[in-house]
């Protein structure tokens, strides 16, 4: 829409912004020569993984952080010298939404209205559309802390819109929020821009949100990797994206193989093959084993363009995927299986858990086969975490049956079962003051490993996860992607046969995410069963089967293709997994929002 309107002064104009931070690892250039403009009345997306500099940039724009050098004009004000004047016209929502959890919805709104000097007599008229848009009207007297994640996010946005600002800055408003809430939020924001001519700058780590923006700015390691209309950026990858199928090779086996081929910039396993982004306009010659490969051009997505830009724009930044042929000792274990084995490693039958009168998990039944990657999807509060806790023996079910490797979790010794489980939580649960090696030593000792066997195992794990060069660094100082790798390493170091992963890839960059999934695929090929929760629907595609939960119940279960098939309608002939997910959740009667 910006392209057709007459040229106006940009709402945001940035020239050569630099901001550095001192850290124990040296000076970090959080923003390195960043310049771009934002036209008024448009939605601009700031896309990049964690640590790219998105938050730093938004804070500078909001006048709450200074820059080292460069010029910025926001709504005609210089944020470093005219912050007070600027802040009267600015709406800003930080990460975690910045709400007072011990104030009610109405009190939070009133606070922001008072601080922005919104006259009392205009409030009702300003609140009414915000409350109806966010569907928060019935919850005015509810404490913000008692709202669901999606509602908190909407309240945060409503608070930053209470004075009808011409410019709205939102820092990762959709992170950790389920797809339904994400879609609703986007409807609110799009309407705001259209009706009020608000200028919107939103940061996000989700590549698939790019299509929502008029323009995108790709930020990576503090530098701008690309900027423009998303369609134009996607077009750059046109002709470089192919789909590869090799008979008798599962995508999971093929993907790491292709990733090592020179000239291939990116490889992602899909259900029926591997999607590759290549340097030239034709796939490079494949090695002999892949002689039977069939390739076909496919239309590019934003993520393909991102990976292409990353490969070109940041030489040396790319890391090779860890595809070491070492088998980490699983092959000799009972977990090793021959192809086609269908032994069930997790069996859940009629599992129910009440908290008081609230039913968190309601007669859940499913099973996970040996070596399977099983995805558990659902909105916030669907019962995923409760299920995980019961599986790991941290929480007792109210009723139902729970078997791990054929053993009843409820009647056998919890400690023995735990040795078979590896658990990796969203927050990684590492000791940040300990070094990589000390963390691994601690976690293996906790599982009763010692002596020579422990030393060998740690060396092996460090090698496999490519952590050897970092083994003497403090875990807390490692970049996010490395911390994630270490957390995974720590959770598999005791050779578990089942791996529980609770939103393991939140916020990590696409490169690290690919490596992570490659490792998971490898583990599953060795017979480790993986149960994973995620908000990334593209990640759910890596799973063999997924179960979608809502309000503690199972809505559907099947392979990603089956679930997409169920969602096929005349209006939407090729639904994505996200479409299917949202379609299913919309059919569920709305529950009372509560924790």
């Amino acid at each position: 829409m910006a392209a057709d309107s007459p040229p106006r002064d940009p709402a945001i104009a940035l020239r050569n912004i630099v901001r550095t931070f001192r850290s124990p690892r040296g000076v970090i250039r959080a923003l390195d020569d960043v310049s771009f403009d934002v036209a008024p009345g448009t939605i601009t997306g700031l896309i990049g993984p964690d640590g790219a500099g998105k938050t730093t940039l938004l804070r500078i724009l909001a006048g709450i952080l200074g820059s080292d050098s460069g010029q910025a004009r926001i709504l005609g004000f210089d944020p470093s010298t005219e912050a007070p004047a600027l802040q009267r016209h600015l709406g800003y929502m930080p990460q975690k939404f910045g709400l007072y959890e011990d104030l009610t919805v109405a009190e939070n709104l009133d606070l922001h209205a008072d601080l922005h000097g919104v006259p009392e007599d205009r409030r009702e008229e300003l609140y009414a559309p915000l409350l109806s848009m966010t569907a928060l009207g019935p919850f005015r007297a509810r404490l913000a802390g008692k709202l669901s994640g999606g509602m908190k996010q909407k309240l945060g946005v409503a608070c930053s819109l209470v004075h009808a600002p011409p410019l709205l800055l939102l820092d990762e408003p959709t992170v950790g929020v389920d797809p339904v809430s994400r879609r609703e939020l986007w409807e609110i924001l799009t309407r705001q821009v259209r009706d009020k001519n608000t200028t919107l700058l939103v940061s996000t780590a989700y590549m698939d949100e790019a299509s929502r923006f008029d323009r995108v700015v790709i930020l990576y390691n503090g530098k701008i990797l690309g900027e423009g209309r998303p369609e134009d950026l996607i077009l750059e990858a046109q002709g470089h994206v192919f789909h590869v199928v090799v008979p008798a090779w599962s995508p999971r086996k093929l993907e790491p193989f292709l990733a090592r081929v020179p000239g291939i910039l990116d490889a992602v396993g899909e259900e029926d093959g591997v999607r590759i982004v290549v340097e030239e306009t034709a796939p490079p010659p494949f090695p002999g084993e892949l002689a039977q490969a069939r390739t076909g051009a496919v239309s590019p997505r934003f993520e393909d363009a991102f990976m292409q830009r990353l490969a070109h724009g940041a030489p040396g930044e790319r890391r090779k995927a860890p595809s070491s042929p070492e088998n980490l000792g699983w092959e000799n274990k009972r977990t090793g299986l021959t192809d086609g084995a269908k032994e069930e490693s997790i069996v859940i039958r009629d599992l129910t858990r009440y908290f008081g009168s609230f039913c968190a998990v309601n007669h859940l039944t499913f099973s996970v086969r040996r070596g399977e990657i099983f995805g558990l999807l659902g909105a916030n509060g669907a019962g995923k975490t409760t299920t995980f806790r019961m599986l790991s023996g941290l929480l007792l079910p109210t009723s139902g049956e729970l078997r791990i490797d054929g053993q009843d979790v409820l009647s056998s010794e919890v400690a023995r079962i735990r040795g078979r489980l590896g658990y990796m939580s969203q927050k990684f649960s590492l000791y940040s003051q300990l070094t990589v090696r000390q963390n691994l030593t601690f976690f293996t000792s906790a599982y009763g490993m010692g002596g020579r066997r422990q030393r060998d195992r740690i060396a092996e794990i460090e090698e496999f996860f490519e952590l050897t060069p970092y083994r003497d660094e403090s875990a807390g100082l490692l970049p996010l992607g490395f911390r994630q790798r270490l957390a995974l390493a720590a959770s598999v170091a005791h050779e578990p046969s089942i791996l529980l992963l609770d939103e393991p890839t939140s916020g990590v960059d696409p490169v690290a995410r690919r490596e992570f999934w490659r490792t998971i695929s490898q583990l599953s090929l060795w017979g480790v069963s993986v149960l994973v929760t995620t908000h990334f629907m593209t990640e759910a595609e890596y799973c063999d089967r997924v179960a979608i939960m809502a309000q503690g119940r199972l809505l559907t279960l099947g392979s990603p293709a089956e679930i997409k098939g169920q969602a096929r309608t005349p209006e939407c002939p090729t639904p994505t997994l996200e479409d299917a997910f949202i379609g299913l959740l919309e059919k569920v009667p709305p529950a009372e929002a509560s924790a």
């Binding site: 804070r59 909001a62 006048g63 709450i64 952080l65 200074g66 005219e82 912050a83 007070p84 004047a85 802040q87 009267r88 600015l90 800003y92 929502m93 930080p94 990460q95 975690k96 939404f97 910045g98 709400l99 007072y100 959890e101 011990d102 104030l103 009190e107 009133d110 606070l111 922001h112 008072d114 601080l115 922005h116 000097g117 404490l143 608070c159 800055l169």
Partner: protein
């Protein structure tokens, strides 16, 4: 689009901050607990549980021979409010009782007690005290001496014997005539309680906003850092004054601590001290962005000194010189001096004015520091 905010706008913002902070105090059980429940608890513990004076101390009495003199002295002992004498036939059984902690001390009147009094020799009476509790031991010793002297004086008055004490000691304790430790503990406790509310509670509130990410949201609005600080100062000031009110009412009516000065002086000096304590709390929370660290700093730098070095329990004059110098930089020590004067002696300008001036300079220093170090910036 005026860039200079009007007074009205500022007032609306300050009012919004005060309202927000007050709602948070009312809804957070832990802050109310620190402000109201903790003072009541501390007062009850110190008022009833901890007593630094000896009353009804059980004491063993061994009379090797019963003479009119020894009987007379034991009768005098029985009349004193401090002792409950228990008779034991010999020293061995008395020592056994001391070991069992049945008694706190032994009064051993030897066989020659009666004669030694008549003949002015002084070896007839022995006192053994249990040194485990040094404080009680000294008190028992002191009170026994006191009782002894009273009794001798009484005898002399009746002219039965010549006084062998050329100087007659007449001990009189001024300002706390009953020697009740409560009377100086309770005023001291008020200083501790106000430090607790002013510094400890306040030190956590800004740190909490850092942790929860709410300060970032506040910073992006037109509110100024001064308005944020005023918005935090006023509710916690009122909370602190309420805590003081509760302490004074409990102290005066429940523990019968006298209030010899005026309420006006008490209120003004308390407000001054509370301002200093709030200043310390706000400075700490501006420096530390983590609630746990802020709380630890507040305890080590404000609460413990107020407890130990303010002269509340331990007399400053009996401290080593080095420690005495340190007490001068502890605001609570000035406030404790004022409080002890207001409660036990009255409004003595010579005590109150210099100490109040010291408190004023403390708060001036702290708030100047606060304005210099707090900026409306992340990091």
């Amino acid at each position: 689009m005026t860039s200079q905010p009007s007074f009205m706008e500022r007032w609306v913002r300050v009012r919004a901050m005060i309202r927000k902070e007050s709602l948070q105090i009312l809804r957070d059980p832990s802050s109310l607990a620190i402000a109201i429940v903790l003072p009541v608890l501390l007062l009850l513990i110190f008022g009833y549980g901890v007593s630094l004076d000896a009353r009804h101390v059980p004491i063993a009495v061994v009379q090797e021979s019963r003479t009119p003199a020894s009987e007379g002295f034991v009768a005098g002992l029985r009349q004193s409010p401090w002792f409950v004498p228990r008779s034991y036939p010999d020293i061995h059984s008395a020592v056994a009782a001391l070991r069992r902690q049945d008694v706190e001390g032994i009064l051993w009147l030897r066989e020659n007690f009666g004669r030694s009094i008549e003949s002015f020799r002084t070896h007839g009476a022995h006192v053994v005290v249990d040194g485990v509790d040094d404080n009680t031991a000294r008190l028992v010793e002191g009170y026994l001496t006191n009782t002894w002297e009273t009794w001798i004086g009484f005898r002399n008055l009746r002219g039965r014997a010549l006084s062998f004490q050329p100087v007659n000691l007449d001990v009189r304790i001024w300002f706390n005539p009953d020697s009740r430790s409560r009377d100086f503990l309770v005023p001291g406790l008020i200083a501790v309680i106000m430090t607790l509310i002013g510094a400890l509670l306040t030190s956590m509130i800004i740190a909490r906003e850092w942790e929860r990410g709410t300060l970032e949201s506040l910073f992006s609005t037109p509110v100024t850092i001064g308005e944020i600080l005023i918005g935090k100062f006023i509710p916690y000031f009122l909370l602190g004054m309420a805590g003081m009110g509760v302490s004074v009412i409990m102290g005066h009516f429940l523990f019968e601590v006298p209030l010899r000065g005026t309420l006006l002086v008490l209120t003004i000096t308390s407000a001054l001290f509370l301002t200093t304590a709030l200043g310390m709390g706000l400075v700490i929370s501006t420096i530390s962005k983590n609630q746990f660290v802020a709380g630890q700093i507040a305890i080590v730098f404000t609460f413990l000194p107020a407890f130990i070095l303010s002269g509340f329990i331990f007399d400053i004059h009996s401290m080593p010189l080095f420690i005495r110098v340190i007490t001068h930089i502890i605001p609570a020590s000035y406030y404790v001096t004022i409080l002890q004067s207001v409660f036990l002696a009255g409004d003595i300008p010579g005590v109150i004015i210099p100490n109040a001036i010291a408190l004023f300079f403390f708060s001036l220093f702290l708030f100047t520091l606060l304005v210099r170090i707090s900026r409306k910036r992340i990091i």
